[in-house]
């Protein structure tokens, strides 16, 4: 589209109508203590749990089969589902459908600047994004504490801190909590917060769905933690079937928890995918959207397409436990391979749900800190879509030694190794961008460079794992464990913290302390590598995953990894200290555009108004025009304000390159 044509197609936008949030017209418009918030959600969740549990007991009383099965999973399942329902009801997520069903007109959303909005159900994507930040950090630190417990137990090969049951529950809980967290760690906070701003939209496509995805995510967190009160579950995060079938009630928390979180993942993914496809500002063509948005789009495609398999697989497991079906019971006509296949059919795309947003952040930040355009933008976008597509065709590499038909093995070796081609594009993009750059070593940039270092090790060891002959030695060992911690933690979590340091000044309007940030980075980077690199050796030397006893000759390596992991854990305390200090205790206002970014999200006022843009911007170019002598304008924010490189922030006035409108 030519510039002149763009101006002519410019739309006059009416004042935005607030999204209808739900709730009953009779209730107070601006709720106080006696309306819906986190407190009512907690109360109704407990009530729902008790009610569900009671109903489950009533339903199953008198059934010999259930009584003879050793565990009665029905009340637990009904209780957990009732609790989730109560939680959603209490927070107000069900107000809209309930109001409609009652024939009443639902209440519109209201603008609020009170801190209490963070404890409510709200349609503002920026509030939901901040809720997600705290939510995923809570998730991450819970899983991290469990990891500390695991490493403490592994200090000694034979003397034990925990019993074997407690230990395996901790391992399972750690894996599940971390995997659930990782599905949303970037899409949830940064995706929800940034995507509408980056594409020039005033809100996401489905604000109620977006808020729902967060609140059901927190419900999933509570459900998975409830396993600890049922004595845990012994299956690890993979939940393999015959073990799952014989496991005690804690297993229900896993199955219900994954199903609940799965619904949230689908909701989050669907909402953002539709937003990106339909809510882009005029001129925001597919070749102009920021690369982070491409990564979120690819991730959302995976979230919506892969997660239903997990929910279905979880439902089968729930039925096996409650209704005595036999989906996974081999001797009654089911198959233990069914779970493995369903789980990994979800589980492998899930791995890329965790990798892609990290790539997006890295590719988004590099041009800002190198003052160069992103190298090979189209290759990067194509690589993300390629990874998303291929990720559906690799799941059987988790089953290389499982006894499935062996003629599939070369095929899945091929697809697994093929996926390293589009994954490798991120290195092409990154290295091309760094060439002849002028690198500013700000804290976010350090995290980005660390992603390249860590993910390279993770990726290269992935090729070892995909090679079937080599896989015989390393499958199921600490080598695998080290590999996926290098990709997920070394890639995704490092990118997430890079993104947080980069965007928190925008999200909160406060500057993060640079010195503490650097201490956090160096502690985390060094001790991450010292923790996980020895695990490659531990695995090669014969230590299987998830063991609480190991060979004496591996004690030195294990102790080294354990002690390093304690420092790694402590590095997160530096982040927490920085966060609390810089944002609450001694807040320093952040400059409007501290990194001199051309991204559209930096051109809005801070704090970002409820409807983001006073006028929908017209996008004229992609936001990577750094280092040019006469940079073109990036976007027209209205009132003659154009965004261009090389000028002061937030938005600079440059000469309008377009012909005047008629």
């Amino acid at each position: 589209m030519t510039l002149a044509a763009e101006r002519e197609t410019e739309v006059v936008y009416p004042d935005p109508t607030p999204p209808v949030l739900g709730g009953f017209q009779g209730l107070p418009a601006r709720p106080g203590w006696f309306s819906q918030h986190l407190g009512t959600a907690a109360i109704l969740a407990v009530g729902g749990y008790l009610l569900g549990h009671w109903i489950g007991n009533v339903m199953t009383s008198g059934y010999d089969n259930v009584a003879a099965s050793g565990i009665n999973a029905v009340p637990v399942t009904a209780g957990l589902l009732g609790g989730v329902l109560g939680w959603l009801l209490g927070i107000g997520a069900l107000n809209y459908p309930l109001a409609k069903m009652a024939g009443m007109e639902p209440r519109p959303d209201y603008e609020s600047t009170s801190w209490t909005r963070y404890f409510r159900y709200t349609a503002d994507h920026k509030v939901v994004g901040m809720q997600y930040v705290i939510g995923v950090l809570g998730f991450l630190f819970t899983g991290g504490l469990l990891a500390m417990a695991i490493r403490t137990e592994l200090l000694s090969p034979t003397s034990h801190l925990f019993g074997p049951g407690t230990y395996i529950s901790i391992v399972s809980e750690h894996g599940t909590v971390m995997m659930m967290m990782a599905t949303s760690v970037i899409v949830g906070p940064l995706g929800n917060w940034l995507v509408p701003l980056m594409i020039g939209a005033r809100r996401t496509a489905f604000p109620r769905v977006e808020a729902f995805s967060f609140w059901i995510f927190t419900a999933g967190y509570l459900v998975i933690l409830s396993a600890l009160f049922y004595g845990g579950f012994p299956t690890g995060w993979t939940g393999y079937a015959p073990l799952q079938t014989q496991a005690p009630q804690g297993m229900m928390s896993y199955l219900v928890g994954f199903a609940v979180i799965g619904v949230g993942m689908m909701a989050a993914g669907f909402n953002l995918a539709v937003t990106i496809i339909n809510y882009r500002a005029p001129g925001m063509t597919w070749s102009r959207i920021p690369i982070f948005v491409w990564s979120i789009l690819a991730t959302c495609a995976l979230l919506t397409l892969a997660t239903p398999t997990l929910v279905a697989a979880g439902l089968f497991g729930i039925l096996d436990h409650t209704a005595q079906t036999a989906f996974y019971v081999t001797e009654h006509g089911g198959s233990s391979f069914l779970w493995q296949n369903l789980f990994w059919f979800f589980g492998h795309p899930e791995v890329y749900i965790m990798a892609l947003p990290g790539f997006g952040i890295v590719a988004e930040l590099l041009p800002v800190f190198t003052r160069k355009p992103l190298f090979a933008y189209k290759v990067a976008a194509a690589g993300m879509i390629g990874v998303a597509l291929l990720s559906f065709f690799v799941w059987q590499h988790h089953l290389f030694q499982s006894g499935i038909n062996p003629d599939m093995r070369p095929l899945f070796m091929l697809t697994t190794e093929l996926i390293s081609i589009p994954t490798g594009f991120i290195f092409l993009v990154g290295m091309g961008t760094l060439y002849k750059a002028k690198i500013r070593f700000e804290v976010p940039m350090l995290f980005c460079l660390a992603v390249f270092f860590n993910f390279l090790i993770g990726g290269v060891t992935g090729v070892f794992l995909s090679d079937v002959p080599v896989n015989v030695t390393v499958h199921g060992s600490f080598f695998v464990l080290a590999h996926f911690h290098y990709t997920i933690m070394g890639g995704l979590i490092f990118a997430f913290f890079g993104g947080l340091y980069y965007w928190l000044p925008k999200m909160t309007g406060k500057t993060m302390n640079k010195k503490l940030g650097k201490i956090h980075f160096w502690l985390m980077f060094i001790f991450f590598n010292l923790t996980f690199f020895p695990m490659f050796l531990i695995g090669l030397l014969g230590q299987p995953r998830r063991v609480f006893e190991y060979a004496h000759n591996l004690q030195a390596l294990n102790d080294f990894a354990s002690v390093s992991s304690f420092v790694l854990g402590a590095s997160f305390l530096v982040f927490v200290a920085n966060f609390v200090w810089s944002i609450f205790i001694k807040p320093t206002p952040s400059p409007a555009n501290p990194w001199d970014s051309l991204g559209l999200e930096w051109q809005t006022p801070t704090p970002v108004p409820y409807y983001n843009f006073a006028r929908i911007p017209v996008v004229l170019n992609d936001p990577y025009h750094y280092g040019e002598e006469n940079p073109p304008a990036i976007a027209d924010l209205g009132d003659g304000i154009l965004v261009a490189a090389g000028a002061s922030s937030p938005a600079s006035v440059a000469e309008d390159p377009r012909p005047p409108a008629e």
Partner: protein, 326 residues
């Protein structure tokens, strides 16, 4: 694949200006020297010590495969690290005299670099795939579990079948060619092709005979076959490598590869010693089904309908003929 056709990443990026140092050549030179030094060091010094050793043919095969991947991986790692290190040193904003970056179309894409990158990585990946596939097929499945119908089978005339039974939380071994005796220790003869028939009585376990480089999941009611050919005598560690419940970490035992004559002696003696026990065991079968009629924990072989009183015992027909280990 040797070191010098592993292209360094981002090679020949935008042509250097005349007054600028030739950065790409420097990077390639540093990379080449480092790779040429480190690759042989890794191959010759680290390589021979790479697990799983050389006790069986596929153990040494898998060790060789690992080393080949290592020799390819090291230059790739060095290429990226050298490149990143060079960028960080040369183009850090705090260094004096770093020119301002030049944007514009030639900094946004470079067809030759992009095509070169894609072609190089594709060739590497396809090469790895071909290498892995050939090694897998010629290596008789490389010691991995091939399921009940193995397609890559050894040509050896004599194959000693050993059944591995996983249950919570131990491995036991049955020798069908020695009266179906069951032992708690894995003893196998040297210079013999072994067919491990791995099955489980309850949940999924994984039979990992570390030094033999054999790994096969033990699935309930499935006969998962893995082959290996022993080459040396020595001790073997067997660990469960699939999470199977709370005592998964304690599910390990030790075995031995002994000379053929020692094995014959041991097997004959053990068969006689355990004959009374063997009678009490479920008759030998390739898999076992929990007895659905009784709650006493008995097991039926898979070729017996657990719901009938038929007493048809013995190994399933159609399996490779077990040969006594001679």
């Amino acid at each position: 694949m040797s070191t010098d056709n592993t292209e360094p990443a981002g090679q020949d990026a935008p042509a250097a200006q005349a007054d600028q140092p030739r950065h790409m050549w420097r990077i390639v030179a540093i990379w080449f020297i480092l790779a040429a030094i480190l690759d042989p060091l890794f191959y010759f010094l680290v390589g021979p010590h790479v697990p799983p050793g050389t006790m069986t043919d596929n153990a040494s095969d898998n060790q060789f495969d690992f080393n080949i991947l290592l020799v390819i991986a090291v230059p790739v790692l060095i290429a990226v690290w050298v490149y990143l290190g060079y960028c960080i040193v040369m183009w850090r904003s705090t260094r004096k005299g770093v020119p301002d970056p030049v944007g514009g179309p030639q900094a946004r894409s470079h067809l030759k670099v992009q095509v070169g990158w894609i072609v190089t990585t594709t060739i590497m990946v396809l090469g790895l795939f071909l290498f892995g596939t050939v090694r897998l097929i010629t290596g008789n499945g490389s010691g991995g579990g091939e399921g009940p119908n193995p397609i890559w089978t050894p040509t050896s005339a004599t194959v000693l079948p050993v059944q591995v039974i996983g249950q919570q939380w131990k491995f036991t071994y049955r020798y069908p060619t020695f009266g179906g005796m069951e032992t708690s220790q894995l003893i196998i003869p040297d210079h013999t092709t072994i067919a491990f028939h791995v099955t489980s009585l309850d949940v999924i376990h994984s039979f990992w005979a570390y030094q033999l480089s054999v790994k096969a999941d033990a699935n309930p009611q499935q006969d998962n076959v893995a082959y290996t050919e022993t080459k040396e005598t020595g001790n073997v560690t067997v660990r469960c490598s699939e999470l199977c419940g709370i005592w998964h970490g304690a599910m390990f035992n030790y075995g031995k590869v002994v000379s053929k004559s020692d094995f014959e002696t041991w097997a004959k003696k053990t068969e006689a010693l355990t004959a009374a026990n063997t009678k009490l065991l479920p008759p030998f079968a390739w898999t076992y089904v929990p007895d659905a009629n009784n709650a006493d924990g008995g097991y039926y072989p898979d070729n017996v309908d657990p719901y009938s009183n038929a007493e048809v015992y013995g190994a399933t027909p159609g399996k490779p003929t077990p040969v006594n280990g001679q």
